[in-house]
């Protein structure tokens, strides 16, 4: 992950208000050179929140026309868990075509990628980014950035759950295997050395480290090690 992105994600991690999430979407849009970057979620009691870079004109228009009821992106991605290129959604109806034309008039990109996140207790979120470009350029963007965007979507969702009073922020708890893996990396072992020390394959080690990274809300392995140390989960 580029260091610029690490900085953005660090800021996101520090977010304590919706305004901070809003700022994060602006920075991430610029970081990736996109037309727009939006994160929105429905909490466990069905309330909707959002942060994003759309113009207030488009937001007002969207609300006025109640597009939520027919937006092919929303309808096509809820109840799904894979990242979706807008091109693969159903734009065949007259209403959908008109909606897309209007959205483009308001500055929404003609290409988009939406990443659904399924949280606990019916909590649900979508991270969307869009851009004005041709198909090959967008496929290229997805091939290069989709995995980072998946991690970013979950980072946003961690914040959304923190903000939602229905969910208590839990101190991360790592299993003995995850702790051993992270502790060895913290001591400066390479992955190969750590795997050998634990008598597991590097492949398995990667899964334990990935699990620890996710639980710690870290953006990469280095960050996960730092967080485990600062949380007192491991001692070197």
């Amino acid at each position: 992950m580029a260091s610029g992105l690490e900085k953005q994600l660090h800021l996101l991690e520090q977010a304590t208000t919706l305004e901070h999430l809003q700022q994060a979407t602006l920075h991430l849009r610029d970081h990736f050179g996109l037309a727009h970057f939006i994160y929105h979620w429905v909490n466990s009691v069905g309330e909707r929140f959002g942060a994003g870079t759309y113009s207030s004109d488009w937001v007002d228009r969207y609300l006025e026309k109640d597009y939520l009821r027919m937006d092919p992106v929303i309808l096509g991605c809820i109840t799904r868990f894979h990242p979706t290129n807008w091109k693969d959604l159903d734009w065949s109806s007259k209403a959908a075509k008109a909606f897309l034309r209007e959205a483009i008039d308001y500055g929404v990109g003609n290409q988009g990628l939406t990443i659904p996140v399924r949280g606990p207790s019916g909590q649900f979120a979508l991270l969307t980014c869009n851009q004005t470009c041709d198909d090959p350029a967008w496929e290229h963007f997805i091939a290069n950035h989709q995995q980072d965007l998946i991690l970013i979507a979950h980072q946003f969702n961690r914040k959304a759950l923190e903000f939602d009073t229905g969910f208590e922020a839990q101190a991360p708890s790592l299993s003995p295997r995850e702790l051993s893996a992270i502790a060895l990396l913290a001591k400066g072992f390479s992955r190969a050395q750590a795997a050998q020390d634990l008598s597991i394959s590097e492949h398995t080690l990667r899964v334990y480290v990935e699990g620890a990274r996710h639980k710690l809300g870290a953006i990469n392995t280095t960050h996960a090690v730092a967080r485990a140390l600062s949380n007192g989960l491991i001692v070197v």
């Binding site: 929140f49 959002g50 937001v59 929303i74 799904r80 959604l89 159903d90 492949h203 398995t204």
Partner: protein, 235 residues
């Protein structure tokens, strides 16, 4: 052909769907002797089938099931975390880059290509959705099949003895597995791409028919206001 179908689209393929759940009963209950339920229609289904998982299904030329497997993201409820934490020292596998793959099933009617097709399908899902690993519960008697097809799991835990033995494994798709898999199936990458694209409808959410013009009174959704920044509500 390979099909990629979310559970809520299975009803569009009644013969394929029924034969898949029947074949699962044959493999897991009749052959492997797992203690799991079979319903009145002879179908093996469990609570994870009710979570709208993604199935990858090898369809035989007559439209029936030749082989299949089931995927769910490890950030939600999965079998390994719900039922097998004790054999992993309490480790829960949880990451947006790891999905659970379960119910890897080959039909008694399967052609020679079924297993290779499923390996290909798992690889396509991993590549297209930017995943790093699969985790899954499997019967160690199936390990020989996996090995044969170049997708040997890393076993990270197991329990039980003999026929009751069950294992938790991790998979990744090695780069060199791709050409071998294409060769076994006698197809090209372009064919695999075409199969995936043909599943576009069954990958996206099922949408009720939309009226072309909005009708009735507008029931505007409440916009988030629990937090003080109502300055930029989206949706």
């Amino acid at each position: 052909m390979l099909r990629y179908i979310y559970a809520d689209h299975l009803s569009d393929f009644p013969a394929l769907s029924h034969s898949m759940f029947r074949d699962r009963a044959t493999q897991f209950v009749d052959r492997l002797g797992w203690d799991i339920g079979v319903d009145a229609n002879g179908e093996e289904r469990d609570e994870y089938d009710a979570l709208n998982p993604l199935y990858v299904i090898w369809e035989l030329p007559d439209g029936r099931h030749g082989g299949s497997m089931r995927f769910l993201p490890s950030t939600g409820p999965i079998m390994v975390n719900d039922h097998f934490g004790h054999i992993l020292d309490g480790t829960t596998i949880q990451s947006p880059l790891i999905w659970e793959c379960t119910r890897f099933c080959l039909s008694p009617n399967a052609d020679r290509r079924a297993a290779a097709a499923l390996v290909l399908g798992a690889g396509e899902v991993m590549k297209r959705f930017s995943l790093n690993h699969y985790v899954g519960v499997f019967d160690p008697r199936m390990e020989r099949i996996y090995r044969l097809y170049g997708v040997t799991p890393d076993v990270i835990g197991c329990q039980g003895e003999g026929a009751d033995r069950i294992a938790v494994g991790l998979w990744e798709m090695q780069q060199d597995a791709w050409p071998k898999t294409f060769a076994r199936l006698g197809i090209t990458a372009a064919q695999s791409d075409a199969w995936f694209k043909a599943s576009r409808d069954t990958l996206r959410a099922k949408i009720p028919p939309q009226p072309d013009a909005p009708s009735g009174p507008s029931c505007r959704a409440p916009v988030g206001s629990r937090h003080d920044t109502a300055s930029h509500p989206i949706f």
